[in-house]
Symmetry: C2
Subunit: 246 residues, 2 copies
């Protein structure tokens, strides 16, 4: 038996119709109203039920297929994916992640400098000659437990950063508030073992495992705004993601 949708569509809302449908179906899947593995009515029928055109309905379903929540097969139909799906790895900061998880992250600024960039950083960020960088190192903890040691470089023509500001909130939040719209980031995840310096700060033993992450973030004007090198205690942090076949 194919499942119908019962989603309120508000045509006066500023939220696009297809996105209202996306939110509605996602809510039904995550709440269990649409069971894993169940089959949906065909596109034409669903569009008619919600008084939408088929292209609009399809656009909504396209997004859900990309997100990995639905699976389509020509000549057969559309199904809800059986396994639970995490949200796609997002372009967010550790601070936001922890905050959303109900944790209380605290930040200690270990070093803070503002000036011209070293050559390798200037190259990584593709900096014009007259643009400098903020360079700072932070220790991020949850409760009393240190979690991450983070070194970052931010070009100084996108926002004004202060040591005080970095203590108060996440770097990404500050940059977003300053009008930076992040678009994408190149990221590399690896592993290393703690040296004495890292071990002392992270309150772990030298030689214990650390997750390493290097990231360079790009804004909507195509500038490389920020690059950083982070290490995380492996016993407290790992990267989870859902990969979707295209």
């Amino acid at each position: 038996m194919a499942a119908s949708l019962n989603i309120p569509i508000d045509r006066s809302s500023p939220i696009p119709l297809y996105h209202q449908v996306v939110q509605g179906i996602e809510a039904m899947i995550r709440s269990g109203t649409l069971e894993p593995g169940s089959r949906l009515e065909n596109e034409i029928e669903l569009a008619a039920q919600l008084n939408l055109s088929r292209p609009t309905m399809r656009k909504a379903m396209d997004e859900l297929v990309r997100a990995g929540l639905l699976v389509r097969k020509r000549g057969v139909g559309t199904q809800v994916v059986a396994s639970q799906v995490r949200r796609h790895l997002e372009l967010s900061s550790l601070f936001d992640d922890l905050s959303r998880g109900g944790k209380q992250p605290t930040t200690k600024v270990l070093a803070f400098r503002h000036g011209p960039a070293e050559r390798d950083i200037a190259e990584t960020l593709q900096l014009p000659p007259d643009v400098g960088v903020y360079h700072f190192t932070r220790l991020r903890s949850v409760g009393e437990k240190p979690l991450a040691l983070m070194e970052n470089w931010v070009r100084d023509d996108v926002a004004e950063l202060t040591e005080e500001g970095l203590r108060q909130s996440g770097m990404y939040q500050i940059l977003r508030d300053a009008g930076v719209n992040f678009r994408l980031a190149n990221q590399r995840i690896g592993a290393t073992v703690a040296d004495e310096y890292q071990a002392e700060l992270l309150e772990t033993a030298p030689g214990s495992a650390l997750v390493t992450m290097e990231r360079t973030a790009v804004d909507d004007t195509g500038r490389n705004v920020e690059t950083g090198r982070h290490v995380y205690r492996a016993d407290s942090y790992s990267f989870e993601m859902t990969l979707v076949q295209r």
Copy 2:
């Protein structure tokens, strides 16, 4: 000056028109014909140049925006992203990755078993009661250099696996050849340090850093086909990806 496109469109090809455009633009960007940061003509004009409708043109550009190669701004136009963009982290095996990189991966099967699943594995794979698993451990090397130690479980109702087959090619290749269409995978990346067993096999020192990866893969019918726990030498392997803000 806004850039035009010069892409051959073959309307008799089985490849959809919008995908031909995607391939064409991507090729122009990667070859440098379209320079990073350069602006494209507007959608209407580009569609006209290629004798396509605007929706088709937009669908192509949508994909490139999602892939992080283009950036659009309403009222302004479409630009090529300045920084170089890696391909999105794909649902592929280490074997494929190495082969594409021109390497010659070799595989040693350390253990191979076929039978009923342990309870935690049965739960992870959501196995029906009468389905068993293949359980095997492999050592993957490039040249003489060991790179990864991989333990996997595969449900036995999707394909027939043999020790010999696993020596010859990658697990994903075997499963694909057997008609399994992978759709998505949940994956977790972390770090650990090598114990004596791992160190000996990977020809490194106990206590050296290893990248860990756990993955469960889902096929297009929604079944959890495979799960595995891998460790990689951190000095030889890391995970690279491009995150795209949506």
